[in-house]
């Protein structure tokens, strides 16, 4: 019933956009929203005559949204990485493209960034958080409706984002490009997501909230805060996609990088640390090395990251004192960051032979190493004189990808490989050899990518600041661009290797799901505690 009403509402909003926005690209989004609403109605209508599912389902964990989220994450991952490899080739060979506006570099580049961050990363976070939340609380999620609402609403947001960029709909704020109506949709989805967390925690049968959930909660709460403030804007009309940001100039720049850097902190770090704190010890079958280190690193990251955004604006028109604050906190941030990485690696003590033999655990171990490397590099690059060389160059791109490929994607692949057999009740993955192949493709791709960008970034930075013997600048801008060409080719190859690995992962996981059930798997260890048991215990 609720689904029917929501689908109708959605279709009505879509109709308003489609009818009112004629001549404006928002009309296309109107049609997409109408289609989403109609698809919802069809699903509701078809379910109408089905028999009521058995009551016994309430005695199990609610895993179907997680299963769907895993598949969506992998599909978005392949799409986002494919577009990434494409734009990488465009930088080396700019005419390697169709002639129309829809697929020009500037429009598809945000499809790459949003596709991998929000499509791949976001779906993986939602899927794993539902799983971790229920297992560590030993309780089923509170209702049938809201997890699906979150997953479907979130993916509608991703589709509006990606199609919007092709149509030229963008706020132009980096990593916050979707326009006002998509932003509002995301806020609604996020409120429901948070409610699921709080309601499930309220039902928990464990007295303590496990550390993974602290991180997932910080991810949900702070991303909401950042998203709402940074996206404040006035649309030119309610049937137009275009809006103008509430902030301008220096205040807008600071707000944007407060958002941008903390999207890295709370979307790409906190959320994935939540993943790491559950799946790494589970897979290694070892307890977390230190509870106290977890506390120090959690609160250190939550407090200090929020100050660090201004290091994106060194030597700009941003007041000097804000730059200095950003630099200082960025450097100190290394302590909680390395506390997390160290905690993960020390957890593996006594299980290193498993890291050697098990490519899934090796993904997780390697991700912790890359997390350590990237956070060190980040603190280093935030130091003002270092930043004078690195800023505006490919070094930044190399840094981001050391984190995105080496840390975020590796912990995600490792966690999903661990999670898939549990979710679909299989004894093992379809192919261990394919996981092994994926591991080496991912590692090789990351190293080629990152070394190419380190080289090109440092060369670029040095060429821009080199003076000749006559006292003038030694190189023109075009000289530096020509010097980048071989590195741009190398980067595109590295990215393609990484993409191939992701395709293997999608294939391997789909085949795992399709494997015949060998025998009845015993479910008993993976069930929530029944209400009555707890009542008796209290």
């Amino acid at each position: 019933m609720l689904w029917g009403i929501l689908s109708l509402l959605l279709a009505a909003v879509g109709l308003a956009f489609a009818a009112g926005g004629r001549g404006d690209p928002i009309a296309v989004h109107g049609w997409i929203i109408i289609l989403a609403g109609l698809a919802g109605l069809v699903v509701v209508a078809r379910g109408w005559s089905l028999p009521e599912p058995p009551e016994s389902r309430f005695e199990e964990y609610y895993d179907s949204p997680t299963k769907a989220g895993i598949i969506l994450a992998l599909v978005w991952g392949v799409v986002g990485m494919f577009v990434g490899a494409w734009v990488a080739f465009l930088l080396a060979f700019p005419d390697f493209n169709f002639s129309g506006p829809w697929t020009s570099f500037g429009r598809i580049r945000p499809i790459h960034t949003a596709g991998v961050i929000f499509g791949f990363g976001g779906n993986a976070l939602i899927a794993t958080s539902f799983h971790v939340l229920q297992r560590t609380s030993r309780a089923r999620m509170p209702d049938q409706f809201s997890p699906w609402f979150v997953l479907i609403g979130y993916n509608l947001f991703c589709v509006l984002a990606a199609t919007g960029f092709m149509l030229g709909i963008t706020q132009s704020k980096e990593y916050a490009e979707p326009e006002w109506y998509a932003d509002i949709l995301l806020v609604i989805v996020w409120v429901v997501y948070f409610a699921i967390y709080i309601r499930t925690l309220a039902r928990r049968k464990e007295p303590h909230i496990y550390v993974a959930n602290w991180y997932y909660m910080a991810f949900i709460l702070v991303v909401a805060m950042l998203h709402i403030v940074n996206s404040l804007a006035i649309p030119i009309s309610l049937t137009s996609a275009k809006s103008y940001s509430l902030f301008s100039g220096v205040q807008d720049a600071m707000t944007q990088w407060w958002y941008g850097h903390n999207a890295v902190a709370f979307f790409l770090t906190a959320g994935f640390l939540g993943m790491m704190y559950y799946y790494l010890p589970k897979r290694a079958n070892r307890p977390i090395f230190s509870y106290r280190l977890s506390i120090i690193s959690f609160w250190g990251i939550t407090f200090m990251y929020m100050w660090a955004g201004s290091h994106h604006l060194h030597y700009t028109a941003l007041p000097h004192w804000v730059q200095t604050l950003g630099m200082v906190f960025s450097v100190v941030l290394l302590i909680p960051s390395w506390a997390s990485a160290g905690n993960a690696l020390l957890t593996l003590n006594g299980a290193w032979q498993k890291v050697r033999d098990d490519a899934v655990l090796r993904f997780m171990a390697l991700s912790a190493i890359f997390y350590g490397i990237t956070t060190f590099e980040g603190s280093f690059m935030a130091i003002r004189p270092v930043n004078s060389l690195s800023h505006y160059t490919d070094w930044t791109i190399g840094h981001v990808h050391a984190g995105a490929l080496g840390w975020v994607a590796m912990i995600t692949f490792g966690s999903l490989y661990a999670l898939v057999p549990w979710m679909w009740k299989k004894q093992r993955l379809y192919s261990k050899a394919l996981v092994e192949a994926h591991f080496w493709l991912a590692l090789a791709g990351t190293l080629i990518y990152v070394f190419a960008m380190w080289n090109s970034g440092v060369i670029q930075g040095l060429m821009w600041r080199t003076y000749g013997e006559t006292g003038g600048l030694a190189y023109s801008f075009v000289d530096s661009l020509v010097a980048m060409h071989p590195y741009y080719i190398a980067r595109a190859i590295g990215g393609t290797l990484f993409l191939l690995g992701a395709i293997l992962a999608l294939y391997n996981i789909v085949m795992t799901i399709r494997m015949p059930q060998e025998q009845q798997v015993d479910l008993s260890p993976d069930l929530p505690l029944a209400e009555t048991v707890v009542a008796a215990g209290e």
Binding site: G106, E174, S248, V250
Partner: protein
């Protein structure tokens, strides 16, 4: 301390409040004062506003993602000043909703681009960058010259900008569409209105070479030619330095 945490992690609401409190401090200390401390943005009462055509061009610049490869922020470093011109001041982007400072220079900085090249150079460069700079890896934007600019809603754009604090007058908003057409057609009888509203310095030219049609190319080139020209405050600062 760890004992206290042992209690905190047993209450979901406690954790939520603690996370929000701890995470809010940095933003408050760094962002709120930027709105209240007067020295943050220099003042220039003579600063010019974007004309409707330039604003439309700026929207195209955002739509095509130009900001991903071009910065508009010259840092206070000797080599940047030698390469691009006087370093950027906060006042220059005070009407930029949002800012377009950028974060990457796959192409050069554009903060002082205005007036550096001819309109014809820009048009040729946008149609095929490699016709003008053989080594360039910039994408082609040929369709801009073929696409008629949507100008009927420019009043709405100016109205929204007014709502977020840019001092557009009611007269400017009422004449937005007409002014956009006039700015790209020097022979039009309405060009006088443009200079009356936006100043004598306003560029009034057939930016794409064809005064009869108002294309997206007109808008984008008009915008590129005004970059760094809205105020002369950075040049005065450079003289004082």
């Amino acid at each position: 301390m760890f004992g206290l945490h042992y209690k905190l992690e047993r209450t979901a609401i406690g954790l939520v409040i603690a996370i929000i409190a701890v995470a809010s401090i940095g933003g408050f200390v760094e962002i709120a004062p930027l709105f209240t401390i007067d020295e943050t943005v220099e003042s220039d009462p003579d600063m010019r506003l974007y004309t409707p055509l330039e604003l439309a061009g700026r929207d195209i610049y955002m739509r095509e993602g130009c900001y991903a490869c071009h910065s508009q922020m010259i840092r206070t470093l000797r080599d940047e000043v030698d390469r691009y011109g006087p370093y950027s001041l906060a006042v220059e982007s005070q009407y930029d909703h949002p800012h377009l400072w950028g974060s990457k220079r796959t192409g050069p900085d554009l903060a002082r681009l205005g007036g550096k090249y001819s309109d014809a150079w820009h048009v040729a460069h946008l149609i095929n960058p490699r016709d003008v700079v053989a080594e360039s890896n910039m994408p082609r934007y040929g369709w801009l010259a073929e696409t008629i600019l949507r100008s009927d809603d420019l009043g709405l754009h100016l109205r929204a900008m007014q709502r977020v604090g840019v001092p557009y007058t009611e007269e400017m908003i009422a004449n937005a569409t007409q002014d956009a057409h006039a700015q790209a057609n020097p022979a039009a009888s309405t060009t006088q209105g443009v200079t009356e509203r936006y100043g004598e310095e306003t560029n009034i030219r057939a930016f794409d070479g064809d005064p009869q049609r108002l294309t997206e190319m007109d808008a984008l080139v008009a915008y590129l030619q005004i970059l760094g020209q809205l105020t002369d405050a950075p040049f005065q600062t450079a003289m004082e330095d």
